[in-house]
Amino acid sequence: MTVEVTPELFASVPDANGRFGQFGGKFVAETLMTALTELEALYASLKSDASFTGEFDRDLAHYVGRPSPLYEASRLSDQIGGARIMLKREDLNHTGAHKVNNTIGQALLAKYMGKRRVIAETGAGQHGVATATVAARLGLECHVFMGEEDIRRQSLNVYRMKLLGADVVPVTSGSRTLKDAMNEAMRDWVTNVDSTFYIIGTVAGPHPYPMLVRDFQSVIGREARTQSLSQTGKLPDALVACVGGGSNAIGLFHPFLQDLGVEMYGVEAGGKGLSTGQHAAPLSVGSPGVLHGNRTYLMQDDDGQILETHSVSAGLDYPGVGPEHAWLKDIGRVRYVTADDQETLAAFHRLTRIEGIMPALETAHALAYAEKLASEMSPDQHIIVNLSGRGDKDILTVAALEGIEV
């Protein structure tokens, strides 16, 4: 790719057609085109509207509990050696993950559009919980699509959603995981497009979703940038975040993209190892294609059929990735790497025991890579890891993997 990487480049995407270079776009059925155009127009008019942004900021402050702290993990850093590791504590948000930043924003859009019914897809259940939460608060009807396989491994979050008044719809088609939940949500949306707002949980889907989810999540990076400057007197040397669809990663990365001295690492799910084929790492070993409304890197076979993925964490078990990540990979601004299931579990235990912070298994992928990276850097450098979610939801999964009955 011959794109020259300048600070100005990052403000130029997506273009008017929702493109990030060759990625992104609006690959959906005709029935949805008008709804997407309406959403695009509404968002364009609201994103610099003081009453909209004011309401969003107030909700983030008083309902979510922002800003989230930037915490130096001293004991972990001492044990690993090398660069200091700082954690952006999205796990301390209301509902326990970064997902709520986005659902607050999209629920506000639904309110402005007068839609009283919201739908969402969920993998680990964090986005489902965050959607059910804002729906409860605004009195909206809420249906969450979730693969049968994920319902089994995330039973606590399923019950949380039900307590919040959401209808959890089991998806039994295909691989019964996140991608199939997204197919089913799209089918519902196409059927109920007049009454329904589709709250997409990640920076994927058709334009304008990758853009607006990015914008709502960018509060993470904006805070981290300010906090880094005030707490360390400089910008971080590197950022690390896990990437499934990629919303927590883009949220952290985006406000730093123009700071070309800040290195960035997106950590995909290496599963049982890239050589086994049982992983969820489209940026690392996939190829470009079209799925769920956008062109991006996918895990697919030679015939263009989407492959089933594997990860110990339901939230990363997705064969695609947000189109902006695909673009950031191709222009070389972000490096995409993997952590496998074993490394992830080790990192989960380490943070829990050394810092008293139990990370989500998704997040533990980022920690596993950050530990390796830190050990190759010097003590006067620092890394910010997006601690995107807390691990309470994963306790039963971890116990089962270790043969422990809870």
Partner: protein, 275 residues
């Protein structure tokens, strides 16, 4: 004149409406699809719509989704679909064949290579559900080079201004999606369909086909009053599934017979419609 244009012109002359059945290539079996297509023509099909199976068929209702899953489990691929159409063309050079599917298998194949291979196989038109006008440009260009019609969809939510830009680019025929929803779903509102088809007709002379939600002779008869063509898919596949479930020992050709009988009834519904 293309095969599609020829068939529509001929039917217009005979004051008849076109009947377009949809089946998924490779379902119930890859070896039986060519025979199924010939059977459908014998039962009264004017144009054939052949579904290209995809792992994530986002616009399909459950009946066709499961058809895609069975076809993929049977090893069907986009190349395999083109082989089926090639085989079909050995014995039938007059019935237009439309392929219907999703973007990714075509992306993977490569647009130019796909257009060339489709042309050689004898394909007349292509519907790609997730390539709306905003995204179909490069593929459309490749199809124009080889004389294949990209069939554009118009839905109940498509605004008039947008219809105008779509029909300006359309060739072959316009496909009006009669319901907001996935294939096989919803209750058809014939009055609304009539009104929308009227709007489309005001903007183009191309034939207008109507699909999604047509289940039987009765609904086909109503739609045929306002449209130039009636598309039926889920109902045919559902009939075959029921028949194979009822008796696991049937030969495949007997399973096809369930779809054939329903198509014949729909044919008479279409033909009984006063035009």
């Amino acid at each position: 004149m293309s095969r599609l244009t020829g068939v529509f012109a001929q039917l217009k002359e005979q004051r008849k409406k076109a009947l377009i059945p949809y089946v998924v290539a490779g379902d119930p079996s890859p070896s039986g699809t060519v025979e199924l297509l010939h059977q459908l023509v014998a039962a009264g099909a004017d144009v054939l719509e052949v579904g290209v199976p995809f792992s994530d068929p986002m616009s399909e209702g459950l009946v066709i989704q499961l058809g895609h899953e069975r076809a993929l489990a049977n090893g069907m691929t986009l190349r395999g679909v083109l082989e089926i159409i090639t085989d079909f063309r050995r014995d039938n050079t007059h019935t237009p064949v439309i392929m219907m599917g999703y973007a990714n298998p075509i992306e993977r194949f490569g647009y130019d290579a796909f257009a060339d291979a489709s042309s050689v196989a004898g394909v007349d038109g292509l519907i790609t559900v997730d390539l709306p006008p905003e995204e179909v440009g490069r593929l459309d260009h490749a199809l124009i080079q080889v004389g294949i019609d990209n069939i554009f969809l118009i839905s109940p939510t498509t605004e008039n201004e947008r219809i105008e830009t779509i029909v300006a680019r359309a060739r072959g025929f316009i496909y009006y999606v009669a319901v907001k929803g996935v294939t096989g779903s919803g209750q058809l509102d014939v009055n609304e369909v009539a009104q929308r088809v009227g709007v489309i007709r005001g903007m183009t002379d191309l034939p207008v086909a109507v699909g999604f939600g047509i289940k039987d002779a009765d609904s086909a008869s109503h739609v045929a009053q306002v449209a130039d063509a009636v598309v039926v898919g889920s109902a045919l596949i559902d009939e075959m599934v029921r028949k194979s479930r009822a008796d696991a020992n049937l030969e495949e050709i007997q399973i096809h017979e369930a779809a054939v009988q329903l198509l014949k009834r729909i044919r008479s519904g279409v033909d009984s419609s006063p035009s």
